[in-house]
Symmetry: none
Subunit: 206 residues, 4 copies
Amino acid sequence: MDAPPLTRHQRRRLLTRQQLIQAAVDLVLEKGYEAVTIQDVTDRADLGRGTFYIHFKDKEDVLWAAIQDGLQETEAEAHSQFQDGLPPQIEYYGYLNIFRHADRNRTLYRVMLGEQGSAVLTGRVQAHLAAEYERDLAALPQKIYTEFDVPTEILIQVVTGSVIQLVRWWLEVHNEYTPVQMAGMLYQSLHHKKPPARVGPSPLVD
Amino acid sequence: MDAPPLTRHQRRRLLTRQQLIQAAVDLVLEKGYEAVTIQDVTDRADLGRGTFYIHFKDKEDVLWAAIQDGLQETEAEAHSQFQDGLPPQIEYYGYLNIFRHADRNRTLYRVMLGEQGSAVLTGRVQAHLAAEYERDLAALPQKIYTEFDVPTEILIQVVTGSVIQLVRWWLEVHNEYTPVQMAGMLYQSLHHKKPPARVGPSPLVD
Amino acid sequence: MDAPPLTRHQRRRLLTRQQLIQAAVDLVLEKGYEAVTIQDVTDRADLGRGTFYIHFKDKEDVLWAAIQDGLQETEAEAHSQFQDGLPPQIEYYGYLNIFRHADRNRTLYRVMLGEQGSAVLTGRVQAHLAAEYERDLAALPQKIYTEFDVPTEILIQVVTGSVIQLVRWWLEVHNEYTPVQMAGMLYQSLHHKKPPARVGPSPLVD
Amino acid sequence: MDAPPLTRHQRRRLLTRQQLIQAAVDLVLEKGYEAVTIQDVTDRADLGRGTFYIHFKDKEDVLWAAIQDGLQETEAEAHSQFQDGLPPQIEYYGYLNIFRHADRNRTLYRVMLGEQGSAVLTGRVQAHLAAEYERDLAALPQKIYTEFDVPTEILIQVVTGSVIQLVRWWLEVHNEYTPVQMAGMLYQSLHHKKPPARVGPSPLVD
DNA sequence: GATGAATGAGTTTTCATTCAT
DNA sequence: TATGAATGAAAACTCATTCAT
């Protein structure tokens, strides 16, 4: 976990890569996935045409790189929060984590999930979330939702479908809801229970 | 509702149009929205290049035409069913109607909702469903879901997100669930109640 | 063998094709095979960029089309000459036929055989000549050259190698030899016999 | 002829150069002259991109260097053989020398003469052989071939064309002929005489 | 209305080459 | 000397669209 010492060459390479990713994400949000060309990206990043191909294969490749960075960060945050035991109503905190991360990375999330993005990439994000959710469910001691005999695979689709659509709507449509409110409303809608009361000063405050 | 008598010319024109729509939908499912070209479509439909432009403006235009036909048919079916009063658990029958129609138009629904389609078009489908759902909700005498103080706009996102994702999953992943089972499981997941028991021979049997 | 009546469309298509072939051959002679681009060709033929791809796959494709036309014509001429019996010293007339045709199609032959052309295409020409020569040898009543027990496959290489190199040299280097002289000298070199004397007015005069 | 003592630096430099030449020749045989890029060469030689330009100007430059090495070696061998007087049927030994050297450098010769190579380079090889042959002819006391009054310049083309085509064929097509057999058959074909009988143990045995 | 040859703008992609390390 | 990231010019190639028939 030590930060590996990077040569100047490597640092330069990494910077160029980040510039390309940033330019690609911004442009997709502005013009829509299909309308963005590789040339747009290199122009925006102020790099030579060929430089793109040193780092990425095509448009999908850059964006998937951007998305993976985002997903990884979300997960890392989630896992770091619950190192000493899971609270009841764990799902609520899962939702909250997603809304918070989306709030801090609005551009990326709109590209990941929105109409400006690519159906293929959104599909991959959904599949990724579904897999992660399934893993988390399997790790839980008590089974949730099972009172209704609905198979896990179905529940996963319902939850991921709801979450993704709600985040998309939240980021696209003008509204004043906070991440805490959004997570609470989603929790209520799906679980038919009040979300945990906010008590005292907390690291989870938004 | 009377079938208007068509001239030979009109019938020929309509046939050409249908051939283009069918070719476009099939090709999008096979190669993905982005990869399909107008030439692909006319080649598959066995028509001249220019013929396309007599009927449609561009790729999006044909597919949106296909989708609108599909959506219109789904709604027509739904509304014809409940002409003499709404049953309790009306939502269940709404879900069921969608799954049934999707079952009979698998290719079209996969193009409408799946990864092969276009994010823009799927977005429009979602917006369409959301608007329709909102209309239906407003028309209902009793408010549903309101016990939890979740605003309608949020509920609409949760429901449409769930429905779309579940239909998508159902059509893409191999599974043996029937439309009745799917609607039932979705109803349970969202409403936390058993779906209506199936009683006797019924026009709603799948 | 009737000339098929061509529609105006087909005639136009054929003309465009010929324009592309002519432009390609001329340009290869001027700049060399490798240096010629598709754009050069369409510019020279005064046609749109994309038109090329309606007719040909790539550079090699146009040139091979040109070459095949040339080879076909040479063969047709040869076969039309000897319809009523083969003269003695038949090889001489074969050589003569080639030099005459090359003389009338200097540009094409220089592209086919010369340094400006492509090694791949020249290889194909050689293979074509070799195959044709083998066919002709097999059809001859008396065997030639066999006094030395050199296998046919070897002789074919010696003859085609000599012919091609000699035609190439003749077309590239400034010299005043006529086709009849060239054929005579080649015949002497390979067969160690005087070529047939030229007697009286003859359709074979150059 | 003394081996000059090389510094460590010079030895390293020479090795790099040889690696580039070897990589270039191998790649041309594999993919064809046109398809090979400088990057292919440096990748295959496991060297940095820029290194190429320290040693060579371009693709043609490396290959011509390789070819010159080959030609020089062939000539050196030829001249070392006949230091104490020319045998009769000297041409036979010239042919044999070429086939032997080609046999020991099959890859290089296929690149030099074959379809995978460049028409320009093959042209240069032919010109080189022709010049050398002309020099050798001029040095001979007795004139050969002149019984037929064929000018030397023509004979040179016939001989070099035959030799090159025969070597090319021999290396490309599967066959079991030895260099001695090939030289003998070529000698018979061109000179219409038996090649010299092989007598006793000899340094010329293959 | 249907056809399909021709168009040429727009993109992707490759590659030789440079240059700071 | 060797490196390899970056460059950007140059080509290939595709495709939507037009238009004469």
